[in-house]
Subunit: 304 residues, 4 copies
Amino acid sequence: MDEGSSLRYIESQSASIHYLYGVKDVIFLGRSTFQEVEILRLGDFGLTLFLDRKIQSAEVDEFIYHEALVHPAMVSHPDPRKVLILGGGEGATLREVLRHNTVDRAVMVDIDEKLVGLCREHLPSWSNGAFDHPKTELVFCDARDYVQGAEEKFDVIISDLTEPVHGGPSTKLFTKEFFEMISRALEDDGIFVLQAGSVDPVWLRFFSDVCATLGETFPIVRPLQVFILSFQMPWGLLMTSKSGDPRELTDEGIAHILEDRGIGLLRYYQPSLHTSLFGTPKYLDEAIARGEVLTDAQPYILDA
Amino acid sequence: MDEGSSLRYIESQSASIHYLYGVKDVIFLGRSTFQEVEILRLGDFGLTLFLDRKIQSAEVDEFIYHEALVHPAMVSHPDPRKVLILGGGEGATLREVLRHNTVDRAVMVDIDEKLVGLCREHLPSWSNGAFDHPKTELVFCDARDYVQGAEEKFDVIISDLTEPVHGGPSTKLFTKEFFEMISRALEDDGIFVLQAGSVDPVWLRFFSDVCATLGETFPIVRPLQVFILSFQMPWGLLMTSKSGDPRELTDEGIAHILEDRGIGLLRYYQPSLHTSLFGTPKYLDEAIARGEVLTDAQPYILDA
Amino acid sequence: MDEGSSLRYIESQSASIHYLYGVKDVIFLGRSTFQEVEILRLGDFGLTLFLDRKIQSAEVDEFIYHEALVHPAMVSHPDPRKVLILGGGEGATLREVLRHNTVDRAVMVDIDEKLVGLCREHLPSWSNGAFDHPKTELVFCDARDYVQGAEEKFDVIISDLTEPVHGGPSTKLFTKEFFEMISRALEDDGIFVLQAGSVDPVWLRFFSDVCATLGETFPIVRPLQVFILSFQMPWGLLMTSKSGDPRELTDEGIAHILEDRGIGLLRYYQPSLHTSLFGTPKYLDEAIARGEVLTDAQPYILDA
Amino acid sequence: MDEGSSLRYIESQSASIHYLYGVKDVIFLGRSTFQEVEILRLGDFGLTLFLDRKIQSAEVDEFIYHEALVHPAMVSHPDPRKVLILGGGEGATLREVLRHNTVDRAVMVDIDEKLVGLCREHLPSWSNGAFDHPKTELVFCDARDYVQGAEEKFDVIISDLTEPVHGGPSTKLFTKEFFEMISRALEDDGIFVLQAGSVDPVWLRFFSDVCATLGETFPIVRPLQVFILSFQMPWGLLMTSKSGDPRELTDEGIAHILEDRGIGLLRYYQPSLHTSLFGTPKYLDEAIARGEVLTDAQPYILDA
């Protein structure tokens, strides 16, 4: 099928805004226990994973999302040995973590074993062998159960969870109570980073509320902004720290770290970009100031 | 008509990627001498201007585009008195320029008088009176003719022209020959900034080529990246200078400038954001390094 | 705007089937007290009226619908002098009725005065002066109230009402109780014809139930089938009679009637077509046999 | 995937009219030597075959198309023993032909062996064993070559070929020269029937020209009209005869034939429907009168 194929995928951002993608090939359509899973080859975007009809990552720019989620956090820790990943079923977050040769244990906890199997089979370049890496431990359970029961502490924790768009299972993974569990599972010099939804001027309540909620637990909370073409909007990450400020690394410092850790070639992240990621538009600062603390009793309810 | 209206607008980014917008009201459908003009009220985006079926600016986030285009350039000049705007038919670039009280002459040159009239009538908050400001001179002619014939020199020149997506009239407004005319019309400490298309990882050849082309004329060329929701992709600006580096302003310095010039409330731009705008992802630097110089003989031909 | 315009209208037939029309011009978007009214100029279809987001009639083929609704019924009556039209806001049913020079009184009852005004203004060729014809009486009220209170009897009654797709105001205009009122308002040799929805093999429950319901009141009930391009599906009419069978007219008999009544040029209906309209596919006969009687207590509830 | 799935298929009728179908499952996407072949399971329509992005037949109503194409022609011949089918790759035309127990030889000629294999595998209820029937001969070659080289004569010939929408291989299967070959391959009391495109008031030039062209060769040419929901428009067949008029069968005569031949249960065709199929609207008769003869030198060129 050429680019002008008649098969299309419609992704709905809201009642008014829809994206219509040309589908070149249908790889998988189905469900796991937890969500609808669709893997398609789209024009321009290449292989693309949809969960519950929202794009998760696309071949063309998954490197942007995963490098932005992982490397700023990892370089902000002086010696990340133990890393915990929550979610991240495609395996690409794990792949980027393992590029840091300081790591000697990477635990990835995803609730959806079927999804991980589908990604391993159909999106092999996302994990690129990471699932079978000797330093990897793969755990299939609810992230909250895992963190609550964890007896070890981690240097870096990365939350790569879908936002609770339909009040689904991740609702209680963005609350004060959960972030306190995260804090207990984190070393004193630990870094916690999470993907936190869009930071565009229309739909930024989720990001703002999560930011406010993190502020209840962590002394340092820094918003980051990254643009992922296949998400069609500016995307927000939040990085927290119990001690140092991740924004204050120098270009030279980062260059040394990347070299020392044997990172190899990157495609998105580079030392000169680091500080820029922390720049925020005024409207975002104002929205953050209005953010409300999310709790188990009053979690995020989609305002769409 | 409520959000779920049945009237839609389809914008095509490529053969594979289309945006489908809910239309709440149709304000104007027609043509000027130069282009198709459509003004619609869309769900989420509000009043929106399309030229030749590409979104130009939307009520919801035109402030981002126009603040990003104008203020970083204006604060990079110590005393901008004479400002030239090329294109910018909506009047919002002019509106932002006039907020700097140093300005005593703002010339806006747009080829499309009918478009300017339509924007003045149907999108009044874009220009917000700027067309009638005593410091404004409005000229309706081809930007190249104007620059070539200009006998005065400007402190800041802002190019707010549509990229030559269909080989149209702006083709020769992005070439080495034109940029040399710009240079001659610019004071020695002048700043030239232009909007230069998308900087996403798929469609960045135009930006890269324009960047390379500017490098033939200007000693300092800086890419900037800004996120505009209604453009669905990261957007690139290019700022050039004959002398100082606009990236090196301090937060405090900018805060003073904004205060001295009586700018008032901004919604997007703020001192702490300035340097971040200049941060570039590695893939963009690599693309820029491959950019080819555009000339009148070999201008940009859309690679879509 | 040329045919390839970017403005579209989406009509939803079901959750799975949608029609996407190119919009060349937007004439009116709004609401009356009773329904959403949209008048657009579409590619291929020309001027088109939508009520509650369903196509009602289009310039390109309204002649088919209105000739099929009116003339088979009118020629089935030997001398139609008094005609009652229920609904038919565009005025085209009235226009066709008035072509029979036997008519000396044509009453049109539509609940929606605003809609009639919009059609008169924006779709003038539909009514073509019929609203101002001296034989016309235009009444704005609920059809049921009118029929219930009518003190005169009619030779032909034509129901040109929208089917109750959303449980709206026409729900009780397709019940046994209402059809008995119709019967009382009809002369003994009177003809009652109504548009009754699609007769395609998927969505034919409404037609079947209305057919069964009419059978409770009228000794002769005949289904007709007509093809209206802009409806995208085969359309069903139901003609009832208290005495003669409208299917048994001869071609020659119809030709004489049309000539005697000075009908003039027709575009769809002709004598040789008359009997064919009554031919029904086997699946439709089987569905009709399963039809259930609709009552005020148990009216039609959309099964979509 | 439920009805509200996000996967869609867009079929374009013209620049202005598009159908958007919900896709429940993707069975096959690919090409044969001759055409693009897509087999999908759509909401409401069920399993559906697209050739070159035009719907060919759908599970929900293929019975209408195939019964209408086959039975009126077969009953119009007193004793159809040898039947030739041109095209008809799905096998459903063959299936219906074999229901007449008079047949002792059914030859089906289709150029596209791969398509026939795909239909046999993925659409088994269409052929329902007909490809393996002892009376069937399956020939894979160009229909024109076959007819030109045929040494036997047939009682009934059925053309189930796609119209030459893009000037493709069927162009010379709708010309005077080809119809003369057909005539030579037909017994003196033979019947030739063909599907001949839409008979809606916008796109009826193809039908009209084919009708005019048949008139050059056959003394009796009769248009038929049938509505197939999944084609979205009224569909036209043309039946020709060298001697008797197929329109003049009586209901009783047809009932006897169907019983004698052991046809069994039908879903669309029935004796009382036969004559109705030949009823034509006036606009169609007028278009037919303007039809132009198609020849090998001047074949049909799509007027879309």
